[in-house]
Every structure is written in structure tokens, then in C-alpha cells.
Symmetry: C2
DNA sequence: TATCATATTAGATATAATCTAAATTATTGA
DNA sequence: TCAATAATTTAGATTATATCTAATATGATA
């Protein structure tokens, strides 16, 4: 999309806008998905410039640390990454592990007694169940 | 605690109550924590019977599949496991990755339009920030 | 241009989890 | 009782995921 905007967001975070780093960020922004490091590595290398695996991991870590990218952990699967855009919640499929966005809505905070001396930064909702692809499959499996 | 109760819950799920499997379940129930597979393996082997690493992983997977144990994914860290007891939410420390329980309270469901054809099984809240141990450390780090 | 911090790289290494195939243990039902 | 069957365990190999190393390259600054 807007190459200049990506460059500015990188440099605004004190990160040089290198071709490899740009490629990771651009890929995450145009795909509106939740990709694994392996998928990102493969995708940015389908076109030049070639980026090493170490660099892909380094850049993902830097981007997460800078707050431009979010790391989504899924039980039993590789980490997934997404460009941080509008706030949203997540739906995670029990069967295929797919992560999907759910429109943001505000979450009631816990009683301050529950939080104690912890410093609360954010609240996020995770929904679990079956995605639209898996729901019918699982339902028919039951029949047999 | 109640050895007979553990035995019954295993057999009620169609799992034999083997010494190795019992040891995993008993450990998770007496510790009220979120342990990694490596920690569980190490703990159940401090006493007999010796259980192999493969068996520890096999049993954790079986117990999760049976719904007796919950697998908690944390970004950048090994999976953590806990015996399923009372419903609760989780607080995850940004700095040390510790997972802590937050008293359960009901979560407003998303608009049905957001869910679409997905099958929703559960909603869970994840709180993020700094745990009581890390909060002061991070605060003083800022000062320097 | 010289200097210095930042970034990239291939390959080695570390960590987490699963697989394999043989042996063991428990269950079933003649 | 005992053979047949199914479930479980095991050591070690293997796979998957992620990080480290140390040499090189690149870009910013003076
Ligand atoms: Mn998302
Ligand atoms: Mn918990
Ligand atoms: Zn699915
Ligand atoms: Zn902490």
C-alpha cells in the first residue's frame, strides 16, 4: 500500500527501513492474516531481495518489540504474526488452529482486588470453537 | 489429594489409570500452577515411577483431549499445563511470561453477526501487563 | 572519507515436541 | 486359565521452531 507510511512507521520506532524489514512489514500489512514466521520467510523470498531466516526472525522480534506487529500464540502450533491495526479480538479454531479477527468491543475489567499489585496493560478476548470451514466437517463426523 | 477421585476421572474419560498418567494428573492437581512439560517431567520423576519424556507428552496430550487438563499457550515460551478446575481467566506477564489465574466473571458475547457460521464453544479473557514481581523491577528500570 | 552503530547472513546450536518400532501391561472373552 | 487384543510405555531418532555466532555489509554521522 503506502510505502512511505511503512518507512515512516519503522523509522518512527528507531528501526532502519531495510529492504528485508520493509518486506516483512509490507507483507503483514497487505495480507490481513495471521502468518507463521515460516510463511513470512517464504513469501518475502518469492520476490527479491532474499532475506535469511535469521533476519526474518530478528525483524519479527524487533517489530513486535516496537509495537508494530503482534505475536499471537496458539496452543500446539507455531506463533502467528499480524500487523497491528485496529483493535480486535480473536477466534481460534479448535480443529485447524486458524486465527480469525472478531470485531472489537470493550471488555469489563476485573475487580481491582483481582488485579492486586499487578500492572494491567491490556485485556483481550479469545473465542474458541470451530471455524466456518471446520464446523460442518466436525458435525458430519459425529453422524458416522 | 483424593487418589480415588483422580482414578475415577481418568477412567471416566476412557483412560487407564497408569502410574505415569496418574503422576502427571496428581502433580497438576496439587500444584495449582501452570507448569511446562519439562517441569512436569522433572517433577514426576523426582519420585518413582520413572516416566519417559515421550510418555509425559503423550499423557499431557491425552489429558488435554479428554478435557481434564488445559493447555495455555504463551508467546515465545513453552506451553503450560494446568488441571481444569474452576473456571477462571488468565493474566500473563509481559516480562517473565508467568501465567496467573484471575477470578472468573462472565464475558459479554460478541454480536452474532461477528460470529457468523462459526461454532462458539468458549470465551476467555487474557490480561497482560506486569506481574507483582516484575512491576517494581520495570518501574525502577525506567528511572535509570 | 573515517568512524561507528545497526543490520544481514550461513550455518551451528538450542529448545520443544513428536514419531518409531519394540517391549510391556492391562482387558476381554473363550 | 490363557490366548488374543488393545492400550501404554520406552529410548532414541527425528522434526519443528527459534535463537545464537561471528564474519561481513550497510547506513548514518561527523
Ligand atoms: Mn488478528
Ligand atoms: Mn489457570
Ligand atoms: Zn478450522
Ligand atoms: Zn513477571
Amino acid at each position: 500500500m503506502d510505502a512511505e507510511a511503512i518507512r515512516r512507521s519503522l523509522e518512527g520506532s528507531g528501526l532502519r527501513c531495510t529492504p528485508q524489514r520493509y518486506a516483512v512489514m509490507a507483507f503483514l500489512m497487505e495480507q490481513n492474516r495471521h502468518s507463521t514466521a515460516a510463511e513470512i520467510f517464504e513469501a518475502v523470498n518469492r520476490v527479491d531481495p532474499r532475506s535469511s531466516r535469521a533476519t526474518t526472525y530478528n525483524n519479527l522480534r524487533d517489530l513486535v518489540k516496537a509495537g508494530l506487529v503482534r505475536d499471537v500464540a496458539v496452543e500446539g502450533r507455531a506463533a502467528r504474526f499480524e500487523a497491528k491495526g485496529m483493535r480486535h479480538h480473536h477466534f481460534i479454531c479448535d480443529r485447524c488452529g486458524k486465527v480469525e479477527d472478531i470485531e472489537w468491543y470493550d471488555v469489563p475489567r476485573p475487580a481491582s482486588g483481582s488485579i492486586g499489585k499487578r500492572v494491567l496493560r491490556e485485556c483481550e478476548l479469545i473465542f474458541r470453537g470451530l471455524c466456518t470451514k471446520c464446523a460442518p466437517a466436525r458435525a458430519s463426523r459425529k453422524v458416522s
